[in-house]
């Protein structure tokens, strides 16, 4: 799966949880879920579940903890897809 496809999918998934919509305008790998998009920390688990469903992978708690930015998420997804 191409990098851009993964990033587009992440953007689509995170949009409904985003409280700061401006954060979506310059969406990049550096975008921080909590700081830039103001995703409620409780909703991060929902983002993870949606990512799991979208890519048909499972993200363990340890990987989730390191998932602060869009880039982190992309890397985890790529890793899981490669090992699947």
């Amino acid at each position: 799966m191409k990098e851009k496809e993964i990033l587009d999918a992440i953007k689509k998934i995170v949009t409904p949880y985003t409280q700061r919509k401006e954060g979506l305008e310059n969406f990049s790998q550096k975008t921080d879920f909590i700081k830039d998009l103001e995703v409620n920390s409780a909703n991060l688990v929902d983002v993870i579940l949606d990512v799991e469903d979208e890519f048909n992978i499972e993200i363990d708690n340890e990987s989730m903890e390191g998932m602060l930015t869009v880039g982190d998420a992309k890397n985890i997804i790529e890793r899981k897809l490669a090992s699947a």
């Binding site: 409904p16 949880y17 409780a42 909703n43 991060l44 688990v45 929902d46 579940l49």
Partner: protein, 420 residues
């Protein structure tokens, strides 16, 4: 000094009407909200009818953000948020434009059990070993205080925000808790009310107790028969009612519409002694509760024009009237009515929905008729003259109304409203 407390806003989500105007229209016309429920038939319930508010997806979407709607599966929260938000707006108060919490505004919004459908979802996932799939919404939709928490966030309340629970007295008790907080000078405004989930997982236990009517599945609107000789048990319902209570001075200052004053009230318990039990009321406690409510409201029993009873359409209706008769000690009897003929028994939501109905009739100068009571129970006819139990809506003004609610656990509450 004790502050005066008035009602400045109301909202309602009832089986026979959603929103104040629709609900008023329904209760004036004796419109029933009791319908046949296919789901209950499929699940082999004896009683396959119930009272469930009719809400479209579009209507629900007006009250929740798209994020809140994701995975929302708690009917009590839906009903409570709609009724509470409507009451707030009816009081002329703004929603969501305060950056800071409003420290003078609080919430007491009760429920019996919340989010049973959401809880069922969670149980299935947990039993399948998929606890991690619950997501973030399971806790807030199933905690009892989920309803006050949702409303607290929507309205930005900074005073006490809590949920009470006392079976079928819940809504009336919530009103009195909010009343006391304002009277004591601890808050200026309290949104009070209650909600009750719908569905087989809420109603099943009542069906199993065999206290629901089983012979009206083909004619649901005739099933709930408070005070009738042919009363066959309570019809389960659901929904929510909400009222904004406000310090009188604050209401005057901002020129708010005042529906009525809350003069006072009382709550107590029969201790499951002296004829009282988990499911039956100790009459002495009921009588005391009525007398205390009258005493704390500084009125005499003669001043009560109308009683809105608990009157669930079980065999206990006559005893309830007898208790009123003993407590009031007057030669005549006030007008008395029960909403449950039209809505069924909305359980934890019943007290608040019926408080809204009570105050609406005071505000609009009518007394709604008792439905399915053509054959008045002889024991009741012996206590009260028939004209005091209207079968059709009367256009009569009310000055003082007493509202009672009683609940499992032998708990009672009575509140007194006055027109000003």
């Amino acid at each position: 000094m004790k502050k005066r407390v008035v009602i400045t806003g109301m909202g309602v989500v009832a089986p026979n009407g959603v929103g104040l105007a629709n609900f008023e229209d329904a209760i004036r016309k004796s419109a029933s909200g009791i319908r046949f429920e296919e789901e209950l038939e499929r699940l082999n319930f004896s009683c396959q009818i119930a009272g469930k508010p009719q809400l479209s997806e579009e209507k629900i979407a007006e009250y929740f953000t798209s994020l809140q709607l994701r995975g929302l599966n708690s009917s009590g929260i839906v009903y409570g948020v709609i009724a509470g938000t409507d009451a707030w707006q009816d009081a002329g108060l703004k929603i969501g434009d305060n950056e800071q919490p409003d420290w003078d505004c609080g919430i007491v919004f009760g429920t019996g059990i919340l989010g049973v459908d959401k809880f069922r979802e969670a149980i299935h996932l947990i039993d399948a070993g998929k606890t991690r799939r619950l997501g973030s919404t399971s806790v807030m939709q199933t905690m009892a205080s989920g309803i006050s928490a949702y409303l607290g966030g929507i309205l930005g309340c900074g005073n006490q925000v809590t949920t009470n629970s006392s079976a079928c007295t819940t809504g009336t008790e919530a009103l009195l808790m909010g009343f006391e907080r304002i009277a004591a000078g601890k808050a200026k405004r309290m949104l009070v009310g209650s909600c009750s989930d719908h569905g087989p997982y809420v109603w099943g236990g009542f069906d199993a107790m065999r206290i629901l009517p089983s012979k009206y599945n083909k004619n649901p609107t005739e099933a709930s028969r408070p005070m009738s000789a042919s009363a066959a048990g309570l019809v389960p319902g659901s929904g929510a009612g909400a009222l904004v209570l406000e310090e009188y001075e604050s209401a005057k200052e901002r020129g708010a519409k005042i529906y009525a004053e809350v003069l006072g009230g009382a709550v107590n318990s029969g201790g499951q002694r002296g004829g009282g039990s988990m499911t039956a009321a100790n009459s002495e406690a009921v009588i005391r509760c009525i007398k205390e409510a009258i005493h704390f409201s500084n009125i005499s029993s003669e001043e009560i024009d109308v009683i809105n009873g608990h009157l669930t359409a079980t065999t206990k209706d006559a005893l309830e009237i007898e208790n009123w008769k003993k407590a009031l000690k007057r030669s005549d009897f006030p007008y008395i009515n029960s909403l449950k003929g039209m809505t069924g028994h909305c359980l934890a939501a019943s007290g608040s929905i019926e408080c809204v109905a009570s105050v609406l009739q005071m505000d609009k100068n009518f007394i709604f008729g008792n439905v399915n009571c053509e054959d008045l129970k002889p024991e009741i006819a012996n206590l009260v003259s028939e004209e005091k139990i209207p079968r059709k809506t009367l256009e009569i003004p009310t000055n003082i109304l007493a509202k009672s609610s009683f609940g499992f656990g032998d708990v009672n509450s009575v509140v007194i409203f006055k027109k000003i």
